[in-house]
């Protein structure tokens, strides 16, 4: 109950400050399982994607977030576990001893959709950073799930890294055409293609 109230407050606030306009350019809002992957410049990012999704989809879409940031303090823990129902991953874990993708695969196997940020960290530059390889391994292990590129416009200006108060600016969330890993596609080629799909969306419809 309290979780839904807090969620409504957060999405309502995000709408008031940013407008949170969803532009479905390459696909429509649909209930099928998806991995939304987006550019990352602010903590507001997944909140905005989350707000832009229709309520029915929002309930089945979980943001992937870093455990070292979110699993500290009661408030953050409450928000990420109870409100956003986030999937927490270890950053900087040694992939030889523990596969950091296990919780993501588990969530996909339960039928949930995911929101991921393949740049790996909040970016303060104009250009997107090169993608980390996690998205490639996800696509390889679950090849039947569509990957939807998402360009989030302006959120980095609403709340830049290191700032706490948001400036109200109109933000839009552009959803592009889904991609999948092709047969025999090399890791780097796929990462470049996935990144380019977001860059293309930046130009708008």
């Amino acid at each position: 109950m309290i979780e839904r109230l807090v969620a409504a407050l957060i999405t309502g606030f995000a709408r008031l400050v940013t407008g949170a306009q969803a532009r479905w350019i390459g696909c429509g809002p649909s209930g099928e399982q998806r991995i939304y992957y987006a550019n990352h410049s602010s903590h507001g990012d997944f909140v905005l994607i989350w707000t832009a999704l229709p309520a029915a989809l929002r309930a089945r879409t979980r943001p992937v977030a870093a455990r070292d940031y979110w699993d500290t303090g009661e408030l953050r823990r409450f928000l990420i576990h109870r409100v956003f129902r986030g999937v927490l991953v270890e950053r900087g874990a040694d992939p030889r001893t523990k596969d950091p993708l296990v919780p993501l695969i588990d969530a996909l196997d339960r039928g949930d959709s995911l929101i991921i940020f393949p740049e790996g960290t909040r970016n303060t530059e104009e250009e997107m950073l090169p993608f980390k390889s996690g998205i490639y391994h996800l696509a390889r292990q679950r090849p039947g799930v569509d990957l939807v590129p998402v360009w989030i416009e302006n959120v980095g200006r609403v709340m830049p890294k290191g700032q706490v108060l948001p400036v109200p600016l109109l933000c839009s969330v552009n959803f592009g055409a889904p991609i999948r890993l092709q047969q025999d596609e090399e890791k780097q080629a796929f990462l470049d293609r996935a990144r380019l799909a977001i860059v293309e969306l930046r130009k708008g419809p």
């Binding site: 407008g19 306009q21 303060t124 302006n154 200006r157 830049p160 700032q163 108060l165 400036v167 109200p168 600016l169 109109l170």
Partner: protein, 316 residues
């Protein structure tokens, strides 16, 4: 006539115009649909505009019912949405964050609180003096010198247009005009009706008779015929509304003419900014019209001039 009676007549007249416009819009829709062109974009847009007018007139009417507070809150919100649209289209950098927070959360409410508190002296200089000097200081303190002059100029411009200029509409309530006490809300009605009817009539006459484009690079839909016929009919309407103003018939028509010309030229300036930024509309808030600034661009330029002319010539 008492102020209440005048307000009532005005509301009845406005509702009558809107009912007429709605009927015309629906008849046009039926006729185009009968010819299999039910999705004609001009007609769809026309009806969306008329519908939005009902909402806007309703909001204005509701604000008038609540008197001074209602008007200040309404235009304060309009300023907020307008400033948000302006800054959204303006590339700012991380170093501007504090200056933007101050603009949105201190300068904007401060300006409207000064109207509420009837502090004319401070109201008139708050943004041109205090904000003008303090915002670039905040931006300089961030030590980001990249495109500094451009960035500080854009924040200033946004505040001047979206907050300072628009706040002159509710500031009309501050004027003490001998023999016109308690009726200042009607002065706001006069300004808004003339400015908006000028836009509407220019659009209508332009669509009906427009041949020669007046500023093709800036605003391809504006024509010489639309401008001339729109401004003259809206000025005549202003003259016909003299009974709600402290002006005589010819004075009211003259004021309306100035309002219309300033509104038209203001629309051109705001179009130039949009073209510079490569967009057609400021936003998408008001169905059929675009954003808040698309609807208020002419008000921004007309309101301060109307305010100061009235203050100079008619207040004691």
């Amino acid at each position: 006539m008492t102020a209440q009676q005048q307000t009532l007549y005005l509301l009845a007249g406005t509702a009558g115009v809107l009912v007429f416009a709605t009927l015309v819009g629906q008849v046009l829709r039926w006729r185009f649909a009968a010819r299999g062109q039910g999705d004609n974009p001009v007609i769809v847009n026309l009806n969306a505009r008329i519908y939005a007018w009902w909402v806007m007139v309703g909001l204005m009417g509701a604000a008038f019912v609540f008197g001074k507070t209602g008007v200040i809150v309404l235009y304060g919100l309009a300023s907020f949405f307008a400033l948000r649209e302006f800054i959204t289209l303006t590339p700012t950098r991380r170093g501007d964050h504090v200056a933007l927070l101050v603009s949105f959360f201190i300068v904007l409410p401060g300006q409207y609180l000064l109207v509420a508190d009837e502090q004319y002296g401070m109201f008139a200089i708050f943004i041109p003096v205090y904000a003008f000097l303090i915002l670039p200081i905040l931006q300089a303190l961030s030590s980001d010198t990249n495109r500094f002059l451009e960035r500080s100029a854009k924040v200033q411009w946004g505040l001047m247009i979206a907050v300072y200029c628009i706040s002159h509409v509710p500031a009309l309530l501050l004027l003490h005009i001998p023999g016109y006490e308690g009726r200042n809300v009607l002065l706001i009605a006069f300004l808004i009706i003339v400015v908006q009817m000028s836009d509407v009539l220019q659009y209508v006459w332009g669509k009906l008779f427009g041949r020669h484009k007046i500023a093709p690079e800036l605003s391809p839909s504006k024509t010489v015929e639309g401008f001339a016929a729109g401004v003259s009919t809206a000025s005549a309407l202003g003259g016909a509304l003299w009974w709600i103003t402290p002006f005589g018939v010819w004075e009211a028509a003259g004021m309306a003419l100035i309002i219309c010309v300033m509104g038209f030229l203001g629309g051109l300036v705001m179009s130039a900014i949009k073209r510079d930024r490569g967009v057609k509309d400021w936003g998408h808030m008001i169905e059929g019209h675009g954003g808040m600034l698309d609807r208020l661009d002419s008000v921004c330029f007309a309101a301060p001039i109307f305010f100061h002319l009235t203050r100079y010539f008619y207040t004691a």
